[in-house]
Symmetry: C2
Subunit: 135 residues, 2 copies
């Protein structure tokens, strides 16, 4: 049997800008609806597993261990694409989410958290404010 | 004139779980298309400004200063909603983005960063793997 490659691709590792704990935030998005489901954290090994296993693995900061989403809950995340941002310090993982992404049972971790905000007037199609408001 | 309230709403501040630098990550999403545009960082004051000004303000970790998106580039972010996640350590800010969200000129900071990933088989409408693949 070939020896499995247990290191993250060096060309990807070289682009990662990790925090002091060696982690980068990973935004998880439902690939077709665009819902932002949650944010987790990955080190090099969690990213390697996510890129090679078809399932999303995080590093759990609270438990101090790898956490393959859904192994306990059944609410698995199936990888559709992974992108690194322009400065290498954030990942965007597009998935097919089975069931609820949030441990509360909500579809996303943001469903119950709306904050009161002053909302800007809608923009015009050209990108200038004021489409829906009086000129 | 009334004295402006320059403190973040205490009921919101009490829910925030900040990192060691006093920051939480803020995922920024185009409200209608669902595009994840970028991720920035906010302290209490950046969040207060974002909730009250109709424009998104971050804390720039590299420059060590507040940064109201678009003041220099013109690529402003107009707030549509703000949500805090289930455990209080991540924000989701839905916006109307004027022009490019990324300093590279790309629409999003993830446009140029696709990583090679093993992609999972598509899920069935019921959430089980296998819809598009052979059974």
């Amino acid at each position: 049997m070939p020896t499995p490659d247990l290191h993250l691709d060096p060309s990807i590792a070289a682009r990662l800008r990790r925090d002091a704990a060696g982690l980068v935030p990973a935004v998880v998005q439902q690939h077709d609806t665009g819902e932002v489901l949650m944010l987790g954290w990955m080190d090099d090994e969690a990213l390697r597993r996510t890129l090679t296993e078809g399932r999303v693995t995080f590093w759990s900061r609270s438990r101090g261990e790898y956490w393959r989403k859904g192994d306990t809950s059944g609410h698995t995340q199936h990888v559709r694409s992974v992108a690194l941002d322009c400065d290498g310090d954030t990942l965007l993982v597009r998935v097919d989410q089975v069931g609820a992404a949030c441990h509360t049972g909500d579809r996303t971790c943001f469903d119950a958290g709306d904050l009161a905000a002053v909302v800007a007037p809608a923009l015009s199609p050209g990108g200038e404010p004021g489409r829906d408001g009086p000129v």
